[in-house]
């Protein structure tokens, strides 16, 4: 196998041939002030303009050396299309939704042309631009939100979790099932637009919900989604998910993107034979506050543990020093 960025990533997604070195990948945003300055593109333009979005993603490969490009930096593309009032932030602030239009758990009204809503179209256009520009050189990652995360946005996170606590399962499952077609339609459109692989972010994190909630409420839905997708899917769930790793594998995801708070050796041992793994350089202590040596050491630890694709554990803080991201690239370029 030729060790191009594209080949290294695509092979690693299925735990295939290893090539000369492990790939560096970013299922979530690696945009920081340094990258914005180097690329001459800033937030919020890169959330709302397809060319800016694609160019900033490309900077992750051309300036930093990551083997993937991922153009979706927010988690609110779908929620904006579904009627949330999204503030797209600024250079220093990530986008956030200011409203929860379905706090009453009424039926979700999905616009017929949802893929043409500006917040959805911009991602599809950015992916097409990237496909055209990078060709076969780099792996292109798309991103969709799963029904659990979309429900946080529609109902409000606390409200959604409270309903679960109150045992209102039918209400909760109904909302997620009404949102599932949005996840599937956006995912399919992103593959068609040019994505090689998709991240499905669904924040059923250990900080908020238990493994029993996942098994009972979301696992059946995830199984349906994965069974309907032809391309590779990376599940992103932040936080400590040690107690539900096997369930993620059972759901049918090809890859799991995980955080440093889970030991890479333990994660590989538990589920590395069932899913590929991507991660897990720590954001708050290492990439944001640490040194390049710290980032390098964590990346090497992940490589030696058998993590297939090396990268930050989640969307990085905007004030992350560029050299700490470069240290991840130095670590992967040393090979296995």
């Amino acid at each position: 196998m030729k060790s191009t960025s594209h080949n290294l990533v695509m092979s690693a997604l299925y735990n295939g041939r290893k090539g000369d070195r492990p790939p560096a990948g970013n299922p979530t945003s690696i945009v920081c002030h340094g990258l914005m300055d180097a690329a001459g593109i800033s937030f919020p333009e890169a959330h709302v303009d397809a060319n800016a979005m694609a160019d900033l993603a490309l900077a992750g490969h051309e300036i930093l050396g990551f083997d993937t490009v991922m153009p979706e930096y927010s988690v609110h593309q779908e929620s904006a299309a579904l009627g949330c009032d999204v503030d797209w932030g600024d250079r220093d602030t990530m986008p956030d939704s200011k409203t929860s239009p379905y706090a009453d758990f009424s039926d979700i009204q999905i616009p017929e042309n949802i893929l043409e809503k500006p917040s959805m179209r911009v991602v599809l256009d950015a992916l097409s631009i990237l496909r055209h520009n990078v060709g076969d050189k780099v792996a292109i990652i798309g991103k969709v939100m799963g029904p659990w995360t979309l429900s946080y946005h529609m109902a409000g996170t606390q409200n959604f979790l409270l309903r679960i606590g109150m045992g209102e399962k039918e209400k909760v499952i109904k909302m997620m099932r009404q949102l599932m077609p949005v996840t599937i339609a956006f995912a399919r459109a992103q593959f068609q637009a040019g994505a090689d692989v998709l991240v499905l972010a669904d924040h059923v994190t250990g900080d908020l919900a238990g493994p029993h909630h996942y098994r009972e409420l979301l696992l059946p839905i995830h199984k349906e989604i994965t069974s309907q997708m032809g391309g590779p899917l990376i599940l992103h769930v932040c936080g400590d998910c040690n107690d539900r790793l096997e369930l993620f594998a059972e759901a049918g995801f090809d890859v799991y993107h995980f955080e440093f708070q889970m030991d890479a050796q333990v994660v590989v041992k538990k589920v590395g034979h069932r899913m590929s793994l991507v991660g897990c350089v720590n954001n708050p202590q290492v990439l944001y506050q640490g040194t390049p040596d710290d980032a390098y050491a964590q990346a090497r630890y992940a490589i030696e543990a058998g993590v297939n694709i090396i990268g930050p554990e989640c969307a990085i803080p905007l004030a992350t020093p560029l050299e700490n991201l470069e240290a991840i690239i130095s670590a992967v370029r040393e090979g296995y």
Partner: protein, 218 residues
């Protein structure tokens, strides 16, 4: 008597929000001391809930329901406490920092602090440094609690502390920080007084801190 208290305590721990009002009414009718209902049943129950949460025996959904259960119970008791209220243990301002609207952690901390007898001022989410400083000057709290869920927003905590110093307010208010990406080393680095890993710890810290700050000038 203890039968009523045990029933109320169990109802809170198990999140029986539909039953709590009947149980509290029955206790009041049987002349159970209302301070005992609050302290020995409800607050004790929330301590148990907090510990179960810290031990990962329960998760946020269950904890939220227990908090709702307590709130419903307290709704019946508060009118009876009028005129008998004791001095709150201290005043605490709570908020999430600028750019962060994720407030579940903050809300859970508030529920536990109120349960423990503190007067909590909830400033909500996405607080700018300037607004926070104004509120600290106005409300004169003993403790300022800052919450951030996102790694992208945690740097705001440092800005708040620097501005408290610049405005010569730092010695008058203890600052505790918390949230998923925050840890004790970060708290120390930015000059916070404490890091609370969960709501239970926030209560412990607050109990320790009250009375340790210099008074605000009149």
């Amino acid at each position: 008597m203890s039968g009523h208290l045990d029933e109320i305590k169990d109802a809170v721990i198990d999140g029986k929000h539909k039953e709590i009002e009947d149980l509290v009414k029955a206790a009041i009718e049987d002349n159970v001391n209302i301070n005992e209902i609050v302290n020995d049943a409800m607050i004790t129950a929330m301590d148990v809930v907090g510990q179960k949460f810290a031990d990962k025996e329960i998760f946020v959904p269950e904890m939220l329901v227990s908090a709702v259960t307590v709130k419903k119970g307290l709704g019946l008791i508060k009118p009876l406490l009028k005129g008998k209220e004791t001095e709150p243990r201290g005043t605490i301002i709570m908020c999430t920092v600028k750019g962060d609207i994720h407030d579940i952690g903050k809300n859970l901390v508030i529920m536990m602090l109120e349960g423990a007898g503190f007067h909590v001022i909830d400033l909500g989410v996405d607080l700018t440094v300037e607004k926070l400083i104004q509120e600290v000057e106005k409300m004169k709290p003993n403790i300022l609690g800052l919450s951030a869920l996102l790694t992208t927003t945690m740097p705001e905590m440092k800005k708040v502390i620097e501005e408290l110093k610049a405005q010569e307010l730092r010695d008058r208010v203890k600052v505790m920080v918390g949230g998923a990406p925050v840890n004790a080393a970060f708290a120390e680095k930015i000059g916070a007084d404490a890091y609370g890993k969960d709501a239970v710890e926030a209560v412990r810290i607050s109990r320790r801190f009250v009375g340790q700050t210099e008074p605000f000038p009149l």
